[in-house]
Amino acid sequence: MTAPLIEVRNLTRHFRVRAGMFSDARPVIAVDGVSFAVPAGDVLGVVGESGCGKSTLARIILGLLEPTSGDVLIDGKSLAGLDRRERARLIQPVFQDPYSSLNPRRRVRDVVGMPLMAQDGMSAAAARKRVDEMLARVGLDPVMAERLPAELSGGQRQRVAIARALVLHPRIVVCDEPTSALDVSVQAQILNLLSELRRSFGLTYLFISHNLAVVEHVASEVAVMYLGRIVEQSATQTLFHAPRHPYTKALLASVLTPEPGLGIPETGLGDAMPDPANIPPGCRFHPRCPVAIDRCSREAPTPMHDRRGLVECHLEGAAS
């Protein structure tokens, strides 16, 4: 097995949320002991519902947030030891909302060229050439370079964001819900573009999404997050064909494929909504779990690794 390109070790992030100037801070546990490794060229899909910590995880890996504890290693080197510009040459983001991810006051050329400017050491002419090349690679007409973001459609804006992410030729791209704000037909264009760019630039993706069908299409491996922890992780085909964690099963059941006559599935989940400020004792999924046993409310399960991957559930531990 080759050495992983990204390795995340026991990553934890707490937030202290203050209600006011004089009130006590309340801890919110957004990410709680997450570990995984992604080999170069792979796509790790991270799925989960709102509040599961997937965006916080992305922000830590991008260096936008400090972890409370734990470490992110890129190519064996700790992210904490990297200079900001060095990190920028390794990892770049693509965000969800193409309306807030581009500075409305700057032209497309400046938006895409911004990472080059931050690096110094590149002549204006060379930077200009690189920006033009990149715009062509993401399928944007050269005339777009002089436009402002407001003059572009959602799909075009997302192409600009992708061009900005790739202009430094990074090795890893963190895609945080890159198609969730787009229309179905535009989503397909962007997903195809991301796959094509991954192959031609040899990129590694961390692909975060709540849309399981999209993740199934792009990811080689999938991690399912629930309230800050990875509760199941395995190769995409394995996870989709033989899910083991009851939460994964519920998520997969909720996917509405365009097949008429199948009706709406029963997820078996109750009303209780996950709240990272109030994590239940024992297994954090037990209040919503349709198959929970007594032990689940008392004792937190530990991750179980086997050749199919990772699962964190008392029932799976007992079954094997």
Binding site: V184, E216, I264
Partner: protein, 322 residues
Amino acid sequence: MTALLEVRDLEISFSGLSAVRGASLTVAKGETHCLVGESGCGKSVTALAVMGLLARNGARKATALRFDGTDLLGLDERAMSRLRGNRMAMIFQEPMTSLNPAYTVGSQMAEVLRRHRGTTRTAALDRAVELLTLVRVTSPGLRIGQYPHQLSGGLRQRVMIAMALMCDPELLIADEPTTALDVTVQAQILRLLADLQKDLGLAVLLITHDLGVVARMAHRVSVMYAGEVVESATAANLFARPMHPYTRGLLACVPVPGKIKPDQPLGSIPGMVPQIGRDFLGCGFRERCGHARPDCAGTIPRRALGPDHDYLCQLEPDATAP
């Protein structure tokens, strides 16, 4: 089947720009009709026009706009507001903006009944509890005393549905009711809507961009593109035999687990939606269509493929057959 809502050749424009240009659809009693399309296709304004809730610079025109035989075009604002929330109700995508944050759930729900029926406050609150139970809200007695911000997104949407049902409407218009919700909550809400529709014999006009939702919920589907209904069929027919090139393109764009091999590209529709001016003529899809030909710029015929299936295209049924 009798038509509860009949829309014929609806045209809507906003200061010079056409939003809807000649859309027709019929919602029968007790059926779920899905209006599907991408952003800007005119599906939401169609619903707003039916409810008489267009923004002030919006103008609507139609050869017929009838609700249970009543001509809605001829109704004044007072008569319209007697219908709204009473015999036809609407729920929106973001329940937080449709609920008033300053009042409790119970008093907002009760207010609907008091306004339309003149019911006493106690009777109206009893009815609120009854409906919260119907939409499967746990401990409804507690919930009626709570404010919207104390509820989760899924609960708020249940409250919105309960509120819409306060006066036993015959038609429920739901505009992207689950788009803002997590997938597991979406499944729960849609299941609730489907059950209510069946149990109460509601007619539902469900507006969505999600073909998965359409396939699982709809009896009948109308696909909108650039302000027109380009294809209309029963759900079974539409997914089994999509005829309009746009419908086909859209279906090919949706990733379906297990259907497409990894590394195989998704189908996609090139280009983007045109800006439709008032004098726009012909097929709105022709610039993105692989089958486009010169006469697509003229008047487009509506072709029928059986009694329950029609589409708006120059191509004959056999010419577009896959």
